[in-house]
């Protein structure tokens, strides 16, 4: 076990700051979607995440694992600027999406979110019909053509493996679905706008194992079209679905008891789970605490 008393200053960096770690997977690596360099995220005076650097690749599933409070969700929500909705939230450092600074001047958060969708921890279907739930995104993008909307709704629900279960009751409330179905509805709603990236914040944590399995199958299928980043507390889930894994941990500054999240290690999932380089990763993935 490592020494818990550790200060921010002697924090081992995952890699040199200017060069985010890019450990090669077998086969070609997709284009870099997100390029994150030395990002720290603040909520008011609280520094939730310190100095995160990593690169997310196209058509891969990247898993964020780590204990509560390690900043996984905070980093995830900064990718589509959802943190903008939290008063006092601030992002320091460089965060690029396909070569464009996400937090640069003139960048519209709504334009960002149309390309980078998000599925939340708790299924949150709108209190509208199943059809209107899926058609919501296309409609706000200006799609009015009824036939086109029908087509989008059917395609999205099929992609989300929900079509057969709901095709005869598209006009019933989205809230009438079970937890697993509701989450798949939310995934259908997200992919209906054909985003580039889908962020998933513990999408299966409220679901039973069968529904979880369906969501995981779905993610593997969606991978060919979308880039997916998933936050999960379930390490088996990370090993089952992800290509790359980032391990986050809580760093407690000794004297002041200030806590902040740090990225400890990032690499191909297999390496993170079987041959981690950092002792903290080793301890976490083998179940000996993070």
């Amino acid at each position: 076990m490592e020494e818990p008393q550790q200060t921010v200053t002697n924090l081992p960096r995952p890699a040199s700051a200017s060069q985010p770690p890019r450990t090669q997977l077998d086969g070609p690596v997709g284009e870099t979607i997100f390029d994150v360099r030395n990002v720290s995220i603040w909520y008011g005076a609280f520094k939730a995440v310190t100095d995160v650097s990593l690169a997310i690749h196209e058509n891969e599933i990247t898993a964020f694992i780590g204990s509560s409070g390690s900043g996984k969700t905070t980093v995830l929500r900064s990718f589509n600027r959802m943190n903008d909705l939290v008063p006092g939230a601030r992002v320091d450092g460089e965060m690029n999406y396909r070569g464009q600074a996400l937090y640069g001047g003139g960048v519209s958060p709504t334009a960002v979110r149309r390309r980078i969708g998000m599925v939340f921890q708790k299924p949150n279907p709108f209190p509208k019909s199943i059809y209107d739930n899926v058609a919501y995104g296309p409609r706000i993008n200006g799609e009015r053509n009824k036939a086109k909307l029908n087509e989008i709704v059917e395609r999205s629900l099929r992609q989300a493996a929900l079509w057969d279960e709901v095709k005869n009751r598209l006009n019933t409330s989205g809230l009438s679905l079970s937890g697993g179905q509701a989450q798949r509805l939310c995934i259908a709603r997200t992919i209906a706008v054909e985003p580039d990236v889908v962020l998933m914040d513990e999408p299966a944590s409220a679901l039973d194992p069968i529904a979880t399995g369906k969501i995981e199958d779905l993610m593997r299928e969606l991978k060919s079209q979308y880039t997916i980043i998933i936050v999960t507390h379930n390490m088996q889930q990370a090993t089952r679905v992800s290509d790359r894994t980032a391990f986050f941990s809580v760093l407690t500054e000794g004297d002041s008891d200030t806590r902040t999240g740090v990225l400890v290690e990032y690499g191909p999932t297999e390496q993170i789970f079987q041959d981690p380089t950092d002792p903290r990763t080793q301890a976490y993935v083998t179940g000996r605490m993070g």
Partner: protein, 298 residues
């Protein structure tokens, strides 16, 4: 077989005797008693009004003009007051409900914890406590003094009374909309206005509508602010709510009840029953509308 298990002691699942059980019973009895106490005056009011007013109600009673007070019960009706109430309450609703809902949207969705939002919220709460007669005097000095009595002036006064109620009830409904819904819409690239109009407002609409209709029903029964603004006392209907004195059911009830003639008193009871019936119909409409708007909410 049964003899083998005869040894086993049965689990005692009865509620244990003692102070805890006694407290439970006392509390239950107190609740039933308070319910009865509440329902008695309510029942008396309804029974009395129906008993004394039902016999006079007819279509001609609801539409005929108001006769001189000395005439017996089978003459004339309360037509001008029914028309006046409908005109004035409708105008007040048109003014106060949209304004109140927009105000609530500002307070909950846009104002945040800002100084302006807190100030407006505070003022609206203070306004709820303003006596209705003060509201009548306010409109009298501001409007009636310059432009004379009119249904419109009455609608202003009732609107001022309804406004804080609509704001408060709508605000509470908007606050109940879970933030996860807003986030879901934002994550699809919706703008704030869009999120508010297409997700937040529909999710809260059932409650907003029923809260607003309650405010309408309450305003319909207000008497004091109307004395200063529509004057009352006319015998034939004034179909123009924008000019000239008007009358309304509460004023009619007041003036008829203070008459010594039994005919006038009977017409007063009829007017009271009509007013209760209007409030009752509004409540039913509120229920139906709420059920309709929240059909996707469960």
């Amino acid at each position: 077989m049964a003899a083998d298990t005869g040894q086993q002691r049965k689990a005692d699942l009865r509620e244990p005797a003692g102070w805890r059980r006694a407290k439970n019973r006392i509390a239950t009895i107190l609740m039933v008693l308070s319910f009865v106490v509440v329902i008695i005056p309510l029942g008396f009011v309804l029974v009395t009004v129906v008993a004394k007013g039902a016999s006079i109600i007819s279509w001609s009673f609801l539409t005929s003009s108001i006769p001189p007070a000395v005439l017996p019960a089978n003459f004339g009706g309360i037509g001008p007051a029914v028309l006046g109430t409908i005109e004035i309450v409708a105008l007040a609703t048109v003014m106060a409900v949209p304004l109140g809902i927009l105000g609530a949207i500002y307070l909950n969705e846009y104002g945040g914890n800002g100084l302006l939002a807190r100030f407006i919220g505070f003022l609206s709460d203070v306004m709820t406590g303003v006596p209705s007669i003060i509201m009548g005097l306010f409109i009298y000095s501001l409007w009636v003094v310059h432009f004379g009595y009119s249904g419109l002036a009455g609608a202003f006064a009732l609107g001022c009374l309804m406004l804080p109620v609509v704001i408060r009830s709508s605000y509470e409904m908007l606050r109940l909309v879970p933030n996860t819904l807003r986030e879901g819409a934002y994550a699809l690239g919706a703008t704030k206005a869009r999120v508010t109009m297409t997700v937040v407002l529909p999710a809260a609409l059932g409650g907003i509508v029923s809260g607003s209709l309650l405010a309408v029903a309450r305003a319909a029964g207000e008497t004091a602010p109307l004395i200063f603004t529509i004057l009352g006392g006319l015998l034939s209907a004034n179909t123009n709510p924008f000019s000239g004195a008007n009358t309304a059911l509460p004023l009619q009830i007041f003036s008829n009840a203070s008459q010594p003639y039994t005919g006038a008193q009977a017409r007063g009871w009829g007017a009271a029953l009509t007013l209760i019936a209007i409030a009752f119909i509004l409540m039913i409409v509120a229920r139906i509308v709420t059920a309709r708007f929240s059909r996707y909410s469960r």
